[in-house]
């Protein structure tokens, strides 16, 4: 900050490391946000163990595994993209970015099919028949066939947690598109790749969260 530039924007930061530090702090908030969900999940798993296991059986482990591998691969391409730009190969960097976006999209598509299948089996909405939003009592629709509460909680958590995770993937993908455009324009380059780096950090965090989501929903049944 030694330069005496006059407009206030001028000292908006060349402190790359500071920006990165701030971004890591932001990532912690994401981590704790999901942390709250993980706490809720563990609490209900401990009190409805049987139901959770039964419910988890209806999730397809193969699909989960495939999706995990897809997401891990996308992390790899992200690293390679950053690596490429650091070496000045912005063409290669863009290619890897495209790969990452494509893998992210594939993840979403598979997730979408999985969700759709669950909806078809009414695993989620079954309990909602006729219940006024949030104010219901099961007494009001005695006819409806009810899942045991533990399974309802399981699917509720499943949809919300994977849903919010998917939302993060979408945000990440949109961000990557922007990064792609900027790389094409040249404003992200060998000497100025902070945005790409942060985008990568974000993408990896989304990956880390999935690394924990995956066994909790697909494996420990």
């Amino acid at each position: 900050m030694s330069e005496q530039a006059l407009p206030i924007e001028a000292f908006h930061h060349h402190d790359e490391e500071g920006t990165r530090l701030g971004f890591w702090l932001f990532l912690f908030t994401e981590l704790l946000l999901f942390g709250a969900f993980f706490i809720i999940y563990s609490v209900y798993r401990s009190s409805y163990l049987g139901d959770f296991k039964l419910a988890a059986e209806s999730l397809n482990t193969t699909i989960g595994t495939v999706n995990t591998i897809i997401l891990l691969s996308s992390s790899l391409t992200m690293v390679l993209s950053l690596d490429a730009i650091k070496r000045g190969a912005s063409g290669l960097s863009k290619t890897f970015l495209l790969f990452t976006i494509a893998l992210g999209t594939a993840f979403l598509v598979i997730k979408g099919f999985e969700w759709a299948a669950k909806f078809d089996h009414h695993l989620f909405l079954q309990t909602s028949n006729g219940i006024a939003a949030g104010k219901g009592s099961p007494l009001l629709n005695p006819g409806a066939e009810m899942l045991p509460p533990g399974q309802v909680l399981f699917f509720g958590l499943y949809f919300i947690m994977t849903g919010i995770h998917a939302l993060h993937i979408i945000i990440g993908a949109v961000w990557m598109l922007i990064v792609y455009a900027w790389t094409a324009r040249g404003s992200i380059n060998k000497d100025n790749y902070g945005v790409l780096e942060r985008c990568g950090l974000y993408w990896h965090l989304v990956d880390v969260i999935w690394i924990f989501l995956f066994p909790l929903y697909y494996l420990v049944a």
Binding site: F28, D83, P215
Partner: protein
């Protein structure tokens, strides 16, 4: 960065990636074993933790960051762990 470092940094991700895939397959296979309920959780969570550490260290370049970054990350995870432990000081002892 010297050229040598560069080629190294291109190689590391692929090694790490292979390790991650390997661990993923391991955890899936191990989930078939019958090690009891807590056993299963412990196995799955330990593997997930190793995977997360790999991503944090190599993909997110924590290994190249100054000490303060590592301290911060440790603080965040310790906080989360504490929240878990203390919440379960309630739920593990309900109805006793």
């Amino acid at each position: 960065m010297t050229t040598q470092e560069q080629s190294q940094s291109a190689r590391t991700p692929i090694i790490v990636f292979s390790a991650l895939i390997f661990l993923t397959i391991t955890t899936v296979l191990l989930s078939g074993l019958d090690v009891g309920d807590t056993g299963a959780i412990i196995v799955a969570m330990s593997i997930a933790t190793i995977k997360a550490l790999l991503v944090l260290t190599f993909f997110m370049h924590l290994n190249h960051e100054p000490l303060i970054f590592k301290l911060f990350v440790a603080l965040a995870f310790v906080t989360l762990l504490t929240l878990f432990l203390l919440t379960f000081s309630d739920y593990s002892f309900r109805g006793m």
